[in-house]
Subunit: 396 residues, 4 copies
């Protein structure tokens, strides 16, 4: 990173911090923390503010109206944005749109970009990503793809079922992964399709109990019954869907880490502010050793998380192998963010559980981070396997 | 414990398990897990079923219609009851009523018992306990008692404010702790009063954001403005309120542990059932080592919790010093229960977060256990102080 | 436990504490902590002192000169004994002799008892237990028994190799487990033999690097080359060796826990004494919150360990299934003891690492507890498997 | 870091790895792991090999014969060197010499550099650093400096006592911190002096039990009784000793982290090699989920440690405030290294405790890392205090 780009990134980060603190947090408080139920006009107002501040769509290429930050440069910006759960909405860098834009900048045809990416990057529409399926097995295997797309003379016919589709409600289109060749469990033969909302043969079931878990990640089920799509709705090449999904995943794993780090930073700040606040007698929670221990461990977890994210970003930006680095970052950061929010709640104790409502929201939200693209156990399995393979290499 | 009493306790435990699984869990599912919003008729139906099963009010003396189990004997019964958050409601052994009955059996005058304890023990009315106050300081000090009761010619006049009063909504009376002598922070001079709901000078503010944290522990704020009570509303002796509160606390700390252990057992059972369930391909989550690790640690945490509760109960039943043992049990069990629920969620992963709704409820509920009668840091401080005092004793 | 027996156990415990503090600890300090290199005369002097104090061989039946305590009653006594690593030597309840006596009281013929158990119980000789073998595989399977005993007209011929045989140096005899039927990995077909030291065909290799790890658990390798034993050297019945080994293991797992708890208590006491010691300026480490946290967690770990040991002992004494309870106790206690010693070292910091030498000894010693009869991962696997089987039972 | 310098650093790292694996590890094995008892000729042979390989004194400026790597660039080199406890000896970048060279390059006068730094940088002599004193208080306060240097007409007279002086045995000189003004506990008024070994008035007591803890960090006590030094033995300026010590500490905290990371990498490699090794039946430990968990957590801990060290190095190289970053790195890395070695021992289980001796050495060595420049609790206190101060800043 040259001095110029460092200064630019620092500037965007600073502006994002101001935007979030001055404009986004008040909106968050007013709307009870539920980003997915945000009225459209409020959403647009936030996005206008972000555009005015010069921090809109930081991850999108200039050709599509964004700032074109690479992974490393977007890390501090996304963290600052994630300080409020509404920040990424304001800046149009929230999941799942952000990962979809990432994919479409690289894979979409000019026509597809014009029709889908341009309005998406501008914040005029929203989108979703439909890959995960109801698990017949143990849920540890992403290659268990049962949704099929069969070739016809005029295009493709899709049949199957997807669940845990975040943000489907209100989306203008979905990126759908379906099997175009191979057996249900083979690790190739997937293809990505663009599917318009309201297409005949597409049924959406909202809110299968998801509201019990979290007020934010509104999730839906998508059912495809002989849904027909034309050939020009294939995203990228036929049968390369797993590769693309992997690419998207390496990206979103890190951008998720960045945004969640904002949540962790916020929780830690709430707790430190509480601990720094003197009582009438002048005592402070922050003078107690056990509270200092919790505060210090929060700072350590956040710093270690940032370091891991940055190292993985550098590899990704350089086009070097990053599967191990992103898996390590995801695993550590997901658990660290959970610990930070939990410690912050402990510092604020019973009053913190109710009055400082954000801690309660965050507590439930961040729990999902440890299971959201497969449980962390799967990551650890992959991390260990790579370490063992390296040892095999040394032995032979 | 003689053989006879052991057999009796085993019988009550077994009957409680049946009651909870066959009658209480279906009601819980139907009412979305919120015990405090339970309609009165449902509540009464559950209590009738418990009475019919011979497991009503297991902790109350026979004179008041209960089974008269001592602390040790009630441990397995309360755990079985706590398997559902509605179990203790059915058996009339839920907080805060259970602690209030404990206190009133020991302290209340015959008239007070007739008027308050008899209907409470029978489940005809509910009650609450008002001790915690909005903290001017750091919230670590129970002796920071600012609510006052001043002696008048006709009785007492109470002024002050209490919060985190669980279950105040719908209670027929409250046990209120107020200062009758000494400075605001002195460790003596408190007195307990019985206060009828609807008394002039009593104002109740419900739900100060508490619904955000949890659907179960409906908490309120009580404001006393020149509330007048007569002398016969003093519970026990004047100026001995802190001692009584301590006695109540040692008791409820353990009964809380017992009930929460039921929550832990339930979460662990849900997770084991999920892990034991073979997929279409015959694989089971429970065959994976990392899942086995989580399962084993759940069993270990539950067993260790039970051991600590039992040891503390034996001391309490024998009238021996139990402050250290109850503090240790509370600290370990509160954290262990949290770990068990968290691991169970991890085993069930994303689907477990939504479909198996009880895990989501439990996750939020059990978090409160680590802050509810003062944060665990306070317990650790007290535990260490006693260990250090013992060392001082050895030195001198 | 009746009141009488409780008073008796309390008395033996108290006497053991006095013995250890007044006589054993000074010897330990003088001999640098190495119980296995203890000169025979010192060993005998310690045993005489224990006999005089009335606390010799607490676990051995009265017929063989001991106190005949059952498992539950010996728990506090063994813990008091284990306060010094030399305590169990003084009281003749150290591993591996203690487990061997346990086995021989139950299995040995009258002749075998006269010849081996009587002098062993009296402390005149020492013994060892030879079961573990150099692992061809992954070391997780106790049934991988390759040492064989073949029947001949005059008795048996043993061939094979054992390692990690604790205390072989100086033992008068060994209990050797050899395969008398079945394939090398089958879970039956083992038999136990008594083998005299110095028998032709027995070769002992001492100290295969073991001194690097620990100064106490002197371990050896035993090689059997056509070693001949007569039929009357079979301990118990032919082909039942695995059952007996299991019985011995359930016993020694718990007695190990008891003795190691003594180590934990000692480490915690050293740390608390350090923390309670005021500096010239009157400050104490024990006034610092982070140190209080460490102290409190030590107390919690010790109390939880005791609870688990007691619960498993009660089952074992009652002849009820105890495999799950002993596995849980072993797993928790082994890790808890490690944590206690580690925290104690942290409290004493650098000076504690050198001057208070016992903490340094203990740190190395207790690490072995987590791997000594198979790594704890094996225990967790077994604990989880039982939990899953129970779930299967509920399902069907 | 430009591309050129990155390539250079990668080259030095690669050469260091080769040197350590091919030449240093065999020497380590032969000498039982004790770097401080290494015969001088062996030490010189190792240093010659490092010089020939072009990796000698990587941290020293070119003017003094080193490679002049800044903090960030030396991180991977020191980690590769620390893979063996003898690696830093070979490369002349071991503690405490490395920190002394760092200080003397910046502070020493030309004469002092010629006389002390030149031979030290060339590996011809060794040195030590004498700051820590026997603690009158709780040992948490580095400003408790009781050793005094009084001005005389001809120079200074030093009186006092230092302990935990690593490597004093065999050192040609010591850097001694003594109080030249202010009260014993004031945070200013310290001065650094160069003191030749063998000076009248200097007494060295070796090995105050330190050998019990560790075979490597040979520590001594230094007693100064009217030791006279001339004015030209003052290092830097009078009364600025605390600042210099702080500077040295920020540097050595990180270089310690780098070297210890080498220990962690080695332990993890030993464990992975064990886990990757198939048994006769083809099973591998590495196929078991619980072992994979341990392996993955090792990789995560090492990666997170590297990230924190790198971030702190960048600040230090840039001359930006780095106290928080170095304290965070030290705290996390010290604990992470301990966890890695402990998990590696667990993977290798009992055989790993003896046969793979390096794990046993490492286990004892790395424990010291958590207490060596003040216990980690002190670091956490400082980290929390800075976080609280930042909150105060935001409030006001």
């Amino acid at each position: 990173m040259t001095g110029d780009s460092a200064a630019m990134v620092a500037g965007v980060t600073k502006k994002t911090e101001l935007l979030v603190r001055q404009l986004v947090l008040p909106v968050e408080e007013q709307h009870g923390g539920n980003a997915h139920d945000l009225p459209d006009d409020v959403r647009r107002a936030l996005q206008t503010a972000a555009r005015t501040a010069g921090v809109f769509a930081p991850q999108v290429g200039a050709a599509f109206g964004g700032l074109g930050l690479n992974m490393r440069d977007r890390a501090p910006v996304f963290e600052a944005s994630g300080y409020s759960l509404f920040g990424p909405v304001a800046q149009n860098c929230a999941a799942p749109d952000e990962g979809n834009m990432h994919l479409m900048e690289r894979l979409a045809s000019p026509d597809q970009q014009l029709r889908y990416l341009v309005p998406l990057a501008a914040g005029r529409i929203r989108s979703c990503f439909a890959m995960t399926e109801p698990m017949p097995g143990n849920g540890f295997d992403p290659s268990a793809l049962h949704t099929t797309a069969e070739k016809t003379s005029y295009g493709w016919v899709i049949n199957g079922r997807k669940w845990f589709v975040t943000g489907a409600d209100g989306s203008a289109f979905a990126i759908v992964v379906a099997r175009t060749s191979g057996e249900p469990d083979s690790r190739s033969g997937a293809t990505m399709f663009l599917v318009d909302a309201g297409s005949p043969g597409l049924r959406v079931q909202h809110d299968r109990g998801a509201h019990r878990t979290t007020t934010f990640a509104r999730e839906s089920e998508l059912i495809f019954e002989n849904l027909e799509v034309s050939d020009d709705m294939v995203l990228g090449e036929v049968d390369r869907g797993f590769d693309y999904a992997q690419t998207r995943l390496w990206n979103t794993r890190l951008t998720n880490c960045m945004r969640w780090l904002g949540s962790a930073r916020r929780a830690a700040d709430i707790a430190v502010a509480r601990a720094a606040n003197p009582s009438s007698s002048g005592d402070r929670l922050g003078d107690l050793g056990m509270v200092q221990h919790l505060i210090a461990d929060n700072e350590i977890d956040i710093a270690a998380s940032r370091g891991l994210v940055e190292r993985a970003c550098l590899l990704l930006d350089a086009g070097e192998p990053s599967a191990q680095a992103t898996a390590i970052a995801k695993t550590f950061v997901a658990e660290a963010v959970g610990r930070v929010v939990d410690r912050s709640l402990q510092i604020c104790s019973a009053p913190g559980n109710t009055e400082d409502a954000p801690l309660s929201w965050l507590y439930r939200e961040v729990r999902l981070f440890r299971v959201d693209d497969g449980p962390l156990e799967t990551q650890r399995w992959a991390i260990a396997r790579r370490a063992l393979r390296a040892a095999d290499g040394r032995v032979s």
